[in-house]
Amino acid sequence: MSATTADRRIAVAAARKHSLHRSRMWALWGSYAALTVFVIMFLVPPFYTLMTSLKSSAEISAQVGSPWLVRHPTLENFWYLITYPNFQRYYLNSIIVTVLTVVVSMVISVLAAFSLSRMGFWGSQMLSTGVFLTYLVPPSLLFIPLFQIVGKLGLINNFWCLVILYPTLAVPFCTWIMIGYFSSIPRELDEAALIDGAGYLQMLWKIFIPVAMPGIIAATIFAFTVAWGAFLYPLAYLYTSNQMVLTVGIISDLIRGDVFQWGKIMAACLLASLPPIIIYAFLMDYYVAGLTAGATKG
C-alpha cells in the first residue's frame, strides 16, 4: 500500500518534471522562432542595400523580375565610387573630422570626469548634473543659433566647424560614462598613489585610465558613432563638395535633380557604413556594457 503510493508519487513527480521540461523546450523554441522573425525584419533594409549595390544601372532601370534578387552581380558601382574623386574626398573628410572629434572629446571628458569624480570644487556637484542635462539637449534645438555663431567664426562651409561642434554632442555622455567608471575605482588606490608621491596627472595616467579602460573604449565608440553618423550639422553648414562629409556628400552628390543612381547610392551607403560595422563587430561588448552602465549607474 505504502509502496504503491510512493510509486505513484514518483510517477506524478516524473510526469510533472517532464511536462515542465517540455514547456521549457517550447518556450525556448518559441523564442528562437520569434527572434528569427524579428531578425529577418530588422535585416531587410541592409540586405536590400547589398542587393541593389551589386546591380548595374541597366538592371535597375529594366524593372523586370524581383527587385530583391540580383541576376548579374557586378562590382562596377563600388569601383566607380572608389575611383570617384568626390567620394574619396568625403571619405577623407569624414575620417579627419571623426578622428579629431574623438581625440578632442576624449581628452576633455576624461579630464573632466577625473576632476568631477575625485576632486570636489565649488559647484562640482552642480556641474555633474549640468553635464547630464547637456546630454539631453538635442542638436536640432541649437542648430539655428549655431548657424549664426559658426558664421561669425567664419567657418560656414568649412568642415572644421564640425570638429568644434561635434564634441558638444559627444562630450556630455562620454563624461557621464567616465564619471561612473572612475567612481567605481576604490579611493584607497589614489590615496596610496598620493602617499607614494604621485601627482594628479600621474595618478590619472597610471591608475585611472588603465583601470577604467573598458569605459574609455565605450566612450570612444560613442564619440566615433556620433561624429561619423551626424547629419544635421553638416547638412546645415556645408554646401560645397570639397568640404562635405559622407552623410551629406552621398545625398547631395549622387542625387542629381530627379536622377537617382540607386546602385551607386546603395554602394556608397555600404562603404560608408563599413567602419561603424567593423568597430561594433569587434567591440560591441564594451559599448553595450558602457551604455547600460551609463543609464543605470550614473
Binding site: L28, V39, P46, Y48, M119, F132, L136, S140, P276
Partner: protein
C-alpha cells in the same frame, strides 16, 4: 615618483601637527584648484556651444526676418496662427509618442525573448538585432527611401505578387506619416532591447522563485516582479527616447522633407526649412524653441529617475 610633486604629505605629515593642518588645507585648496582646471575645457565647451547658443536662440527668436528690429513674441504668435505649424505640432507629438510606445513594447518583447535563450547564444542574436542601430541613420534611411519608391520598389513588388495595387508610400499624408514612424521604430528598437535585457538580468532570480512558490503564473510574474523591478529603467529610457524622437531630424528630412503638403513635418525639419533654406533665421529659432518646454519637462523626470536609480544601486 622622484619628480617635484612628491613634497606634500609624505614629508610633512609626521612633523609638527599645526604645520600638518595648514598643509592639509593647502593640499585641499590645491586639489580643488586642479579639479577646476581639469574641468575647465568642459565648462568652456558647454558654455560656449550649448548655453550661449540657447540664450542666443531666445534673443534671435524675438527679431524680425531681416534681424533689424525687435518684435517681442511676434514670431511665436505668427507661427501659432499658421496652419502648417499647427500641423507640425500635431505631427511631432504623433510621431514621437507612437514611435516611443512601439519601441518600448517591441524592445521589451525582444529583451524577454533574448532572456529566454541560453546566455552563450545571446551574443550572436544581439549582434544581429543591433545592426539597424549601428548603421548611420542618414544612410539607412536612404535605403528605406529606395524601398518605398513608388514605381518599382521592394514593397510594391511584394504587394503586386499578392495581387494588391501599388501603394504610393511617401506620396500620401497618412501613409507617409506611417512610413516615418516605421523607420524610426526599426532604428530605435535595438537600443531598448539592450537596455531592457541588462535590466532583466539584474532582477534577482530568487524573486521569481519566491513568486513561483507562492503560485504565481507567468503573467503574474511579469506584472508583480519584472515590471516593478524595471519601472525605473523603463521610465528613464522612455523619457530619454521621447526627447530624442521628438527632436528627430534625419528620417523625416530624407524620407519626405516634410511633404506631402507638409503632412510629415516635425519641429526640427520645419525649423530647417524655415530657418536655413528660406533664410528666416528668427522664425526658425522660434520654431525650434517650441520644443523646449516639452524637452525640459522630460529632462526633469529623466534626471529624477537617474538620481533615484543611482541611490537604489548605491544602497
Amino acid at each position: 615618483m622622484a619628480d617635484g610633486t612628491s613634497v606634500p604629505i609624505g614629508v610633512m605629515a609626521p612633523g609638527r601637527p599645526t604645520a600638518g593642518r595648514s598643509n592639509m588645507r593647502r593640499f585641499a585648496q590645491r586639489r580643488s584648484t586642479t579639479g577646476f582646471l581639469l574641468a575647465l575645457p568642459l565648462i568652456l565647451l558647454v558654455a560656449g556651444f550649448v548655453i550661449y547658443p540657447a540664450f542666443y536662440a531666445i534673443y534671435l527668436s524675438m527679431l524680425n526676418k531681416k534681424m533689424t528690429a525687435f518684435v517681442g513674441l511676434g514670431n511665436f504668435e505668427f507661427l501659432l496662427k499658421r496652419h502648417t505649424f499647427q500641423l507640425v505640432i500635431f505631427q511631432s507629438c504623433l510621431y514621437a509618442i507612437t514611435s516611443v510606445v512601439l519601441k518600448v513594447l517591441i524592445g521589451f518583447i525582444l529583451a524577454h525573448l533574448m532572456h529566454n535563450i541560453p546566455g552563450k547564444n545571446q551574443r550572436i542574436w544581439r549582434g544581429l538585432l543591433l545592426v539597424p542601430w549601428v548603421i548611420p541613420l542618414a544612410l539607412s534611411t536612404l535605403t528605406w527611401w529606395w524601398m518605398f519608391d513608388p514605381s518599382y520598389s521592394a514593397f510594391n513588388w511584394v504587394l503586386n505578387q499578392f495581387g494588391f495595387a501599388n501603394v504610393p508610400w511617401l506620396g500620401v499624408g497618412w501613409t507617409a506619416r506611417f512610413c516615418t514612424i516605421v523607420v524610426n521604430v526599426w532604428y530605435g528598437t535595438p537600443f531598448f532591447m539592450i537596455m531592457y535585457l541588462a535590466a532583466l538580468k539584474s532582477v534577482p532570480e530568487q524573486l521569481y522563485e519566491a513568486a513561483a512558490i507562492d503560485g504565481a503564473g507567468a503573467i503574474q510574474k511579469l506584472f508583480f516582479v519584472t515590471l516593478p523591478m524595471m519601472r525605473n529603467i523603463i521610465s528613464i529610457t522612455l523619457l530619454y527616447s521621447l526627447i530624442v524622437t521628438f527632436a528627430e531630424f534625419d528620417i523625416v528630412r530624407i524620407l519626405t522633407a516634410g511633404g506631402p503638403q507638409d503632412m510629415t513635418h516635425v519641429f526640427a525639419t520645419y525649423a530647417f526649412q524655415v530657418g536655413i533654406q528660406s533664410g528666416d533665421i528668427p522664425l526658425g529659432a522660434s520654431d525650434s524653441l517650441f520644443m523646449l518646454p516639452i524637452l525640459a519637462f522630460a529632462a526633469f523626470f529623466v534626471l529624477r529617475g537617474v538620481t533615484k536609480r543611482t541611490k537604489e544601486i548605491a544602497a
